[in-house]
């Protein structure tokens, strides 16, 4: 059963385009999607996923299951970076440990979208409110990461001179809640909600843009993610075996925790998979940008190469079907 899920995932258009990107780098092709085109697709995906999530949230309403699920997701985005930090501190200095930990507490929207596409192919239904969980898991992880770095990094104040005394809360909160991609995602979610609630004709008019075009645009973006992930592979030497091991085991561990919570909450199969994917995935959009600003002592190639070079491909290729097999085993259907 699981092997058929893996195959079904491997032969889907988004995953194949992801492989094509990886292959291009491995073979030495000069295929390139020049900047800022990747940004166009990432902005588009965030806008579309937010808007659609908002529309579905308006339809489903804010019942107690919805609120409980979202709360559990936020809780995970606080606990995961703390537990990851403890693990990572055995080998890394506090700055790098905190930055990597923040990545794994946060989420990867593209992994989430790929999981949604996978569920669509399997014809397993899922709820729109999971996007709200996605949107709310980025900021706490960033805050927790920065706070851990500042608290445990001994010589911060010294290095930064007088202006750096204590935590710069304004800067941290700014990066955590006003980071462009988080802001766009949450903003589009709210707009989708408002439009669905107050001028439903607008939802239909957005449909060709946010809904119909989505799958193709995802393929295009995953082609680029393949290119970038493969380029990151060479940074892995710097990361070392410990971090690579972490990048594979952490998602599995976090997915299992997610499974347990999903079962506790009584989520349906589709939502359970998405919840696991949120826990298992690591951020390579909002968190690295925030860390580069707020924890400049950490080495970006460490936190980017683990989340983008290892965990992301792992989740997209192997993780999602594996988690689905677990869902089918432990979560009652329909």
């Amino acid at each position: 059963m699981q092997s058929s899920l893996v195959l079904q995932n491997l032969l889907s258009a988004p995953v194949l385009f992801f492989f094509l990107g990886i292959l291009a780098v491995l073979l030495g092709s000069d295929l390139e999607i020049p900047s800022p085109l990747p940004k166009l697709f990432s902005l588009y995906l965030l806008l579309a996923i937010g808007f659609r999530g908002g529309v579905e949230l308006a339809h489903s309403g804010l019942g107690s299951l919805v609120l409980l699920t979202i709360s559990a997701a936020v809780l995970m985005s606080i606990l995961v970076p703390i537990s990851s930090f403890v693990m990572l501190r055995t080998r890394l200095d506090p700055y790098n440990a905190a930055a990597v930990a923040a990545s794994y507490g946060s989420i990867s929207a593209v992994t989430f979208i790929t999981a949604q596409s996978f569920l669509n192919v399997l014809k397993v239904p899922f709820d729109g409110f999971m996007v709200a969980a996605l949107a709310l898991m980025e900021s706490p992880a960033i805050v927790v990461g920065v706070v851990m770095a500042k608290l445990t990094g001994s010589n911060v104040a010294e290095r930064d001179g007088e202006q750096a005394q204590g935590l710069r809360w304004r800067e941290i909160l700014q990066e955590a809640f006003l980071n462009g991609s988080i802001f766009l995602l949450i903003g589009s979610l709210v707009i989708g909600y408002l439009v669905a609630a107050f001028s439903p004709a607008g939802v239909e008019k957005m449909d060709p843009f946010t809904e119909k075009l989505f799958y193709g645009a995802l393929c295009f973006f995953l082609l680029d993610m393949g290119l970038i992930a493969a380029q990151r592979l060479q940074d892995l030497r710097q990361a070392g075996a410990f971090l690579i091991g972490f990048a594979v085991l952490a998602p599995l561990l976090h997915a299992l925790a997610g499974l347990a919570i999903a079962r506790l909450l009584g989520l349906n199969q589709g939502d359970a998979l998405l919840f696991m994917v949120l826990c298992a995935s690591a951020s390579y959009i909002a968190v690295p940008a925030a860390m580069r600003m707020t924890v400049p002592q950490a080495n970006p190639s460490l936190y980017i190469s683990t989340s983008l070079g290892v965990t992301f491909p792992f989740n997209v290729v192997v993780g999602i079907p594996t988690y689905m097999a677990l869902v089918q085993r432990f979560i009652p259907a329909g």
Binding site: S42, N179, G180, A286, A289
Partner: protein
Amino acid sequence: MSMKRIDLFLSERELDRVCKALRKAGAPGYSVMRHVTGMGVGGEISEAMDFSSFGANAHLIVFCKPEQLTPIQEAVRPLLQRFGGVGFLSEAEPF
């Protein structure tokens, strides 16, 4: 008339901060090129992470009078130290 030319290379994410510092320090003007890639002690910087707001480098050029140099150096150096980035100086004159 002799002038000083300053070339700064730093992260795009620090750009606003440095420009503000330059204005405050009395720079008569400056020019900015973004999307700069490169290599330094902090390793290689590419445009690959541009899809996030991680950003590449920026190249800042300032031409100023010799007496304007010191305040600019005092304003900019701490920022370069904190976030990485390098600066170079050379001689110039008006065109």
